[in-house]
Amino acid sequence: MTLTEKIIARHAGRDRVAPGEHVWIDIDVLMTHDVCGPPTIDIFKREFGEAARVWDKEKLVIMPDHYIFTANKHAHRNLEVLRAFASDQKLPHFYDAFSDRYKGVCHVGLAEEGFNRPGSTLIGTDSHTCTSGAFGLFSTGVGNTDAALIMGTGKLWVRVPETMRFVFEGTLPPYLMAKDLILSVIGDIGVDGATYRAMEFDGHAVYDLGMPERMTLTNMAIEAGGKNGIIAADDVTVAYVKERTDAAFEVLHSAPDARFHSEYRYDVSEMEPVVAKPHSPDNRATVSEVAGTRLDRCYIGSCTGGKLEDFVAAASILRGNEVRVDTYVVPASTEVDRALDTQQIDGVTLREIFERSGCKIGQSSCAACLGGPPDTFGRTHGTEVVISTTNRNFPGRMGSKSSSVFLASALTVAASALHGVISDPREVLV
């Protein structure tokens, strides 16, 4: 069996499962946030009764992150709904907005708080829940109804996916990031190239990456239609997890005789910086093909592109220079936000580097990654041309239906910020 099949089988109480089978599995962690949490709670109460208790308080995680720093009254009402539910159910893992516990973007928060445990099942009411698969676990996004069913029963039906295998060998050059690798994959297989399937990432180049960069790979499995992205745990994973939780976990691997749907191999030393052009994540071009495209805005943030590695990469380029266009910096989590003050390059903190180069720094949340209410930090309102480290560039994704978004790595976005046009990081990296 593949890694994904093994985890599903164990959680279905079975020795084996085969792709295509429908099975009910036990869920180890259910995560929800401020957009999908309130309607999930409504359905939970409708189906299980006003007085019903959640199936296991320890396994429910609520991390508001989408619409936090806005005056929108509906958004605040949604936070109130979460608060009332968490207090009524005495939930230990509620990371309330405007409190000391506030985390920021849920997928990064789940990792930081030790909820991503190898061998487990983690389901979230957010399509990028596949991010957690970087820790060798089965994770996928569901809607409110499925989440409400889990809230009451701890169970979910799944169709066992076939697994596609993506092997990255070679040494990653300094001008490439995980974002270049995954955008290349999506460009190769298309936005529906992995629909219903698992995407397993493997190879030395993957295991050379730290956890945040691995999360960039699994984060965008959904952009190829994948059910889950997954990377078997190694020593780096185990060290990260042990630092953040005492909970038990089990490291599993695909068996040597596992059957894969297909296998794609890449030599990363031969790959190039790439972008996804508007308006689809599979609309790939090399940076050199689109270099010189005039920009109105640069954006570095989100669960896929607002992690510490992204800011270290961007700062290494922005250091001592000034941006030519509006450049928005949004740390994914409050932990990343704090690290901007502690992490230094040549004695200068990342925050100072961004401030001196003229970037606008926002508060940890999803912010303009998905547009949001009109007063959202960094949201587009007109015909802006944006280059962004986020994961989607469908029409209207960052707010305005007439804006255009290029997706790229933090290195490429930072290089572009310096010139006001799309620029190759190889030109500015020394």
């Binding site: 309607p39 569901v142 069913l149 936005v191 629909t195 547009g371 949001g372 209410p373």
Partner: protein, 191 residues
């Protein structure tokens, strides 16, 4: 869920994502309060680029809450789409919005998986795959009829009938009405 659905078709292209189906800025509304819930239907499909709104001519909005249609925001009953319908976010608001607008069936060449499960598990609408590309064979406004059990689509305007793909295992959930009813029937939750 009705076994047959008949009414005007609304035709869109490939990879219509959840942001086009219901833009993120609208996700703040309650899905239960009647006044707010109605807004989901009003904004359903509102961010499909104008040229793609109702093929082949385009520029035909799916829903219009200012028009008086006995309370239903859309006059369309069946969406006919290309591949990868509903890709993008996991928001259940997407099939919900289409269903609130008054449309209960989507026929597409393929669906993004979360949209598919949300549509079925929530009992909002029936997503049916078509082995052939119907968006070149059906025009927005054609009078179509979908028979869920026999998996066929009849275009009464052109008098053509197309075979669709059977629902397979999820047919049981569709028949039960939602995943909750299904789980009750299976004894997974007490009834």
């Amino acid at each position: 869920m009705d076994k047959t659905v008949r009414g005007p078709a609304y035709v869109v292209g490939d990879s219509v994502d959840t942001d086009q189906i219901i833009p993120a800025e609208h996700l703040v509304y309650s899905m239960t309060e009647p006044d707010e819930r109605r807004l989901y239907g009003c904004y359903a499909m509102s961010a499909v680029p104008p040229a793609g709104q109702g093929l082949p001519t385009g520029n035909t909005p799916f829903a219009d809450c200012d028009a008086d249609r006995e309370g239903l925001p859309s006059r369309f009953k069946v969406i006919v789409a290309g591949g990868n319908f509903g890709c993008g976010s996991s928001r259940e608001h997407a099939p919900f919005a289409i269903s609130e607008a008054g449309c209960r069936v989507v026929v597409a060449e393929s669906f993004a998986r979360i949209f598919f499960r949300n549509a079925v598990d929530g009992g909002f609408l029936v997503p049916i795959e078509s082995p052939q590309r119907l968006i070149d064979r059906i025009r927005t406004g054609d009078d179509v009829e979908v028979d869920v059990d026999s998996a066929t689509l009849t275009n009464h305007t052109t008098e053509e009938t197309f075979l669709l793909k059977p629902l397979g295992e999820v047919a049981e959930i569709v028949r039960a009405g939602s995943v909750f009813e299904y789980a009750r029937q299976k004894g997974l939750i007490p009834s």
